[in-house]
Symmetry: C2
Subunit: 168 residues, 2 copies
């Protein structure tokens, strides 16, 4: 939420790359349309596989409301929420589709009330990028995903060098 061009473009790109790498199915970038951001992510997904979707310029309130109306639940990452370790079990046990909401400091108070869970990844000033990464890693029980179907580019483990396999 709260994406502004150009100020937030790099941070929002980091949010989207993190979402994809840690196993999210896609992102909605609210408020500002940003075709450059969408292109960057489309290119990464073309190369590295998977089916990550990006929609930019969507209005946040109706996106959240539509999600809830179709049976999904909302996780809002905020320093003011309940501690991740205390609440993650309850979130994992819910089998609803989850929309994770992140943004910069100034979140509308309404979001705290629309959220099913307000979750604090520490009660310290942190980054929405790392908060999202850590949340998704905990949510998926620390099983870092490496299976992205259709990848044209694969990076292989290496002690010192760069091992890249291309299959196009």
């Amino acid at each position: 939420m709260g994406h502004r061009i150009p100020r937030d473009q790099r941070v929002t790109t980091h949010v989207c790359l993190t979402a994809r790498a840690l196993g999210a199915d896609g992102v909605y970038v609210s408020d500002a349309h940003d075709s450059q951001l969408a292109d960057t992510l489309r290119k990464v997904t073309e190369d590295f596989g998977g089916n990550f979707t990006v929609e930019t310029g969507v209005p946040w309130r109706s996106t959240i409301t539509r999600w809830k109306n179709s049976g999904g639940t909302i996780v809002h990452l905020t320093v003011y929420g309940n501690p991740l370790p205390r609440i993650i079990g309850e979130i994992r046990r819910s089998d609803s589709d989850k929309l994770i909401v992140v943004g910069s400091e100034k979140m509308p108070g309404e979001v705290f009330h629309l959220a099913d869970w307000n979750v604090a990844v520490t009660h310290q000033p942190i980054s929405e990028v790392s908060a999202l990464g850590i949340f998704l890693d905990w949510f998926f029980k620390h099983r870092l995903r490496e299976d992205f179907p259709g990848a044209k580019v694969r990076i292989l483990p290496s002690d010192r060098g760069k091992r890249i396999v291309r299959s196009d």
Copy 2:
């Protein structure tokens, strides 16, 4: 590494906040002096406690070399490295002081050789912000830290609202 003003200021701030929140003792920001960044972190540490140190404008090569010469080891987070789950045990067992090196895409090849461990937080394009957060969370065995001595501001868990305690 590779901090540029103004292009990287927000992302580097996210890196530093993540380092502090996840339990690092301090950061070196290489290459560019950035007093604004140092001030932001000083203010956060004054308010939220702990002894986080920030040094900006340090040359990366001599910082790494000095660290190694005084018995410390280097962890370089890179998509090309060995998978985090495979290598974290070995890193945790080493009781040397650790310097975690992160930066943008274009890392000098030398860094891969100076590093004691090249570690991939997934082999997918990700963000150095979330890679650092996830690495530190794994390194500290998922015990998210909440004890920052001398905090003037504390945020308390809440289901919906904002609960802030100030003690100045």
